[in-house]
Symmetry: C2
Subunit: 412 residues, 2 copies
Amino acid sequence: MSELPVSPLAPKNFPSMSPVPGVEFGAIAAGLKYKGRPDLFMAVFPEGTAAAGVFTRSKMPAAPVDWSKAALATTGGRMRCLLVNAGNANAFTGAKGKKAAEKSAKIAADIVGCAQDEVLLASTGVIGELLNVNSFKKFLPRIHAGLSGALWKDAASAIATTDTFPKGCSKVADIAGRTVTITGIAKGSGMIAPDMATMLGFVFTNAPVTPACLQALLSEATEKSFNATTVDGDTSTNDTVYAFATGNGEDTIDDPNDPRLADFKRQFGDVMVNLAQQVVRDGEGATKFIEVTIEGAEDAAAAKRIALTVANSPLVKTAVAGEDANWGRVVMAVGRAGEAADRDKLQIWIGDQQVAMNGMVSSRYSEEDATAHMKTSEIKIRVDVGVGSGSATVWTCDLTHGYITINADYRS
Amino acid sequence: MSELPVSPLAPKNFPSMSPVPGVEFGAIAAGLKYKGRPDLFMAVFPEGTAAAGVFTRSKMPAAPVDWSKAALATTGGRMRCLLVNAGNANAFTGAKGKKAAEKSAKIAADIVGCAQDEVLLASTGVIGELLNVNSFKKFLPRIHAGLSGALWKDAASAIATTDTFPKGCSKVADIAGRTVTITGIAKGSGMIAPDMATMLGFVFTNAPVTPACLQALLSEATEKSFNATTVDGDTSTNDTVYAFATGNGEDTIDDPNDPRLADFKRQFGDVMVNLAQQVVRDGEGATKFIEVTIEGAEDAAAAKRIALTVANSPLVKTAVAGEDANWGRVVMAVGRAGEAADRDKLQIWIGDQQVAMNGMVSSRYSEEDATAHMKTSEIKIRVDVGVGSGSATVWTCDLTHGYITINADYRS
């Protein structure tokens, strides 16, 4: 955790988190970068556990990303172990970084008693510094000796870097009369934090699904959660979301559209959105949480691109920081997105109030009402671009002096 | 002009500006928004003057943009008048805004004695407020009565909004033994300033070129000048660059690749780059001018997209503000750009020093030397992405507390 003050948008408490049958884990202070706090995390799963991953789209992926993509392909998505370190991203570290990733997987595999390829990795921290994994030989056996299924707050803390609070969410879902658990943790503070690359999210469940089914569910949910958030538009070399499902058995479900998964998909999606929103709520310097909804676009993809353009606009974000109901900047951002939009049918709402319609300011616009909404900490901006029925919602935070202070004034 | 302190990156003086044969103009304080400074500008050209325009790519173009695109098409690029107002963008003003644009062109045409379609328009200022052009009937005759070819600083001031200094540049070129003049003015401060939408650039010359030739030259030069700069990545509803060429005659050149234009193209391009760089130097809150060069990309377009991704990255821009030689953020931004790049061949220079090679930090990297460069006000970042021979250079400024102060703390 960072020594920065806790974000004013943080939830009051770390939530109650249910254990997931089959999932055991532990964390330890390995002193990789931080002192006196856990920074090394390992989770262990039963044989046959399904795993799925969504990775950064960066063309400069970190070594653990390369490793984990290959491992998922080799094993067909059957994993036994997840190993995560905070403080060093093992990114842009060349051939030595690749070897460090391989070696860390080997050390974990030997301790867990599985194949090297059955270990997924994630790293977060400084870019460009070599990761020394020799100490893993000392610390991973200690974690393994004390595995538990309950210490989720320690787990969420061990994967954090500049985060100001640990992030977790837990729900249950019904699959054909059977109750399953979905419990996840995440880290991130700034789409990438100062030098502390990365957004990470890990969701664990005992749902009975195959790797292919889990991958489909994870990919779809990621689009509407982690990939529907932005703090500063920057993308890390290490961004990774994993899902693990321990419920492998006779009635394992392979079809992501199986009607028995309806409730599970809803709850799984909710956990993902909740975790992603917590990352935004820990955005560097954030004082306002912003929901941007675009309606009336050509399709959902166009709506999302417009929404992200609004959400990434420095001028929209600084207007929110200044509690300024500056809808002209929203017009500008919608125009800049490059997607089809009918200027003369454009409608904009700030909070519940319609501020613009038919391509100009609404005759009923009350600056006073709009400003009252802007003074709250949960800001809603909704735009109908007037060309179709595509819609999307994304989440971001405001751009404040705090962001500049964290990223410019604190030297690395 | 803004009442903000003059940018520390401003040129020491407004440059010496040559008159352009045939171009007469004037400016007046019409009180559209500002008091005690010119905010209405009109230029008048001889019959047959070639004109060309490059406009915002925004899907929410302002009324004067719609008007001017149509006028250029109707006249085939033969224009007699340019009318510009500052303080009101006439953007997102619906049918009334369209009428205001038409009416302003009509008023100017009646005074100049030309067709309405021979008047080009540009507006810059607040979005969403109706532009009242009735006062133009009073002020444009006064401008017309005092037309001159010399008062360029007044002209540059009349088109400004939150700019902290007037922007001009003037050069001569040789076309087949004949010396022609190229003189331009620009405004902009922030890709769009607080509520003051817009970047504008107007370049005047007496070169003997046809409208089609001028359009080709302008489009090409804009890509390497105004479209190769960014302050905050935002795009205005009103961005416009015009070129006017009064040298219509018997030896008028139609082919933009005519060898007689070689020197003219170079000088014209230099004027455009100089003006565009002045806009960056007036970027809101800027304390450092940043040149980003990408080499080794698939092609020039890919290189430019990577360069703009680096130049728009809040994390790169805040690192420069903090005088932090944080090349890891450059790696992140290159990776995020989505263009082909070979992580393991990537090379990065900060100033003259190579800081990274072969996908990792250079063994000769001296943080001390890199930091010394970061302490200057003219920062150079160069990256070879290792896949081809495409290259591009773009310019931006750092992201500072000043930007937040201007855009969040000053209420509109």
